[in-house]
């Protein structure tokens, strides 16, 4: 079979027709979105910019959590349902560390130092808990039928949830912030300090993670383990250690997200993990689960869509927020089942 003929073959007539329908559908949906955005920009450009910044900030928060889902799924094909609850524990740890243990109630140099220390500690906290979960529960089930680790992950989620309930209490709690409360105005757009700090720390975290996975030896071990565990062991890679390291990375990101959320929103709740975890997991699927940049793109997109829908003058408004997000998720997955950046890989066996 020559290459020339295989390249010219574009599918059966049915496949070609379906591809055309898909393309037409994508264009129609894209056009509707464009018209909606343009209408809003014309109506109120400042509000549009304001809402965009807010949406992207939330998207960045989602991205930090989504990476934990996508990393773990990438390496052991497990949806770690407990991950959202790990994030929730991160918010509680940050609250107690800053406000109760160190008694930092307002913005001051000691408060900022406490914030920096908290960032480090909450990342260690998230990493340690995630590694413990893997070590105690998931590792033993690695070769079990796939439903067993999945149900265990659901169980772990409840366990962490109840730890959060004991720790935080059953009602939402409001906490003071140690971040300066002044706003920066850029072209009439008001950006608060928390948002700026979130971008200046969150973006390097994402880049650093990408560097670890793609450029370091440890990252190479992760990618090899993800593809074939036995073959990785035959290369001299310690598979257990590599998987534990992956959980540690994901946990550290969730911990950092916990601190940022606690400082940006100020409210903690024991069931926060379910809400944000679901959104973050959705982001990971939307971007193509197992793909790092996919998770980031998916999360920013969802944050942005939510932000625009909640804050724009011509939109469905906050009560429709989840419906809009999931409608878009379904539409995108219908056209691209592997997610935005996910690839349907064809491999020779």
């Amino acid at each position: 079979m020559s290459n020339a003929t295989t390249q010219k073959f574009k599918g059966t007539p049915g496949q070609i027709r379906n591809a055309r329908i898909e393309r037409a559908g994508a264009i129609v949906i894209g056009a509707i979105a464009l018209v909606w955005i343009l209408a809003n920009i014309i109506k109120s450009p400042e509000q549009f910019a304001q809402v965009t910044v807010l949406g992207l900030r939330n998207g960045l928060l989602y991205a930090l959590i989504a990476l934990g889902y996508t990393l773990v799924y990438g390496i052991i094909e497990l949806i770690n349902f407990a991950h959202g609850d790990l994030f929730m524990l991160g918010t509680l740890f940050s609250s107690y560390f800053l406000s109760v243990w160190l008694k930092q109630q307002n913005s001051s140099p000691t408060g900022w130092a406490a914030f920096a220390a908290c960032l480090l500690l909450v990342m260690v906290f998230g990493a340690v808990i995630n590694v413990l979960i893997e070590r105690l529960a998931y590792r033993r089930l690695r070769n079990a039928p796939r439903l067993a680790p999945l149900i265990t992950a659901v169980g772990m989620s409840f366990l962490l949830n109840f730890i959060g309930l004991k720790w935080n209490g059953s009602t939402p709690r409001q906490w003071p912030t140690v971040i300066p409360s002044f706003d920066v105005h850029i072209f009439g757009v008001r950006i608060n300090m928390v948002t700026i700090i979130l971008f200046f720390i969150g973006v390097p975290l994402l880049l650093g993670l990408n560097f670890i996975v793609n450029k370091t030896k440890q990252g190479k071990a992760m990618r090899a383990t993800a593809q074939d565990k036995d073959a990785a062991a035959l290369m001299g890679i310690n598979v257990n250690k590599t998987i534990a390291f992956t959980f540690a990375l994901g946990g550290a990101m969730a911990g950092a997200a916990g601190l940022f959320y606690q400082q940006a929103i100020g409210t903690t709740n024991y069931n926060l993990g379910f809400q944000l975890g679901l959104i973050a997991f959705t982001s990971a699927v939307l971007g193509g689960i197992g793909n790092l940049w996919g998770a980031v793109v998916g999360a920013l997109l969802i944050g942005l869509i939510q932000g625009l829908n909640d804050g724009l003058p011509i939109a469905l408004g906050q009560q429709w927020s989840q419906s809009v997000v999931f409608t878009i998720l379904i539409i995108i997955l219908v056209f691209k089942p592997a997610g935005l950046l996910g690839k349907v890989t064809t491999e020779k066996v």
């Binding site: 035959l234 001299g236 890989t345 020779k348």
Partner: protein, 237 residues
């Protein structure tokens, strides 16, 4: 000749299914030893046990005088046993270069690794044209060459080859066996599994015939080729 690998009465089971009942074998330094036998005779399981992917239920494995049964697989590589597994098991979504680099995962001397990289590409010129190609998109024969090359990148004292000729066109089979001889000339000891018993016995010094988890026969490769029972069961002429 000194004994490099000494497998003593190992028994290996997957759950309740006993795959290897009682296998003993030795490999001397500089030899090519082959295990022949039909499907399910326990050949691959024996190799997987030597490289630490499975622990034997009983018995001992000694490599250069040290016990290695029970040592995890990733530590055995560092001792100098590299394994080109059944079904190739290359990393399909990585390039040929990345696969070869992973073969040298435990080695820290960059100059030596670079020299070995050139050496395996000289051994398999086909791979040279494809260093930046994704391994999963190559043909079966090329993937096999990559699997062998990747094992060589670990700088093995003992190379375990599991069915390197499986599913290959006859001309490639011949080429693979020629390469095996070349690898031995570089001072690497080889333990080879083959269903293509004819070709295996041609390159090997000694052979073991496995049958349902036991060593049925062993001896010099030249003697086994003349043996009536072996001829009938495995050589087909």
């Amino acid at each position: 000749m000194s004994t490099m690998l000494d497998v003593k009465n190992i028994e290996v089971a997957y759950g309740k299914i006993v795959a290897v009942k009682d296998v003993s074998l030795t490999v001397n330094k500089g030899e090519i030893v082959t295990l022949i036998g039909s499907n399910g005779a326990g050949k691959s399981t024996t190799l997987r046990t030597i490289s630490g992917l499975i622990k034997p239920r009983s018995g001992e494995i000694l490599f250069e005088g040290n016990r290695i049964d029970g040592v995890p697989g990733h530590d055995i590589v560092g001792m100098g046993i590299c394994h080109s597994p059944e079904g190739r098991r290359i990393f399909p979504r990585m390039t040929v270069r990345e696969n070869l680099e992973l073969g040298a995962f435990l080695r820290n001397n960059k100059a030596e690794v670079a020299a070995d990289f050139e050496r395996v590409l000289t051994l398999f010129p086909r791979l040279k044209e494809r260093v930046e190609q994704r391994a999963g998109t190559m043909s079966g024969g090329e993937q096999q060459m990559l699997a062998v090359s990747r094992a060589l990148m670990g700088s093995p004292k003992l190379l375990l080859l599991d069915e390197p000729s499986m599913g290959l066109a006859p001309v490639l089979v011949e080429m693979i066996f020629e390469t095996i001889t070349k690898i031995r000339e570089q001072g690497i000891t080889i333990l080879l599994i083959e269903q293509n018993a004819n070709a295996a016995l041609e390159v090997a010094d000694r052979a073991y015939v496995l049958e349902s988890g036991n060593v049925k026969m062993s001896g010099k490769a030249t003697d086994l080729r003349k043996d009536d029972a072996v001829t009938k069961a495995y050589l087909g002429h």
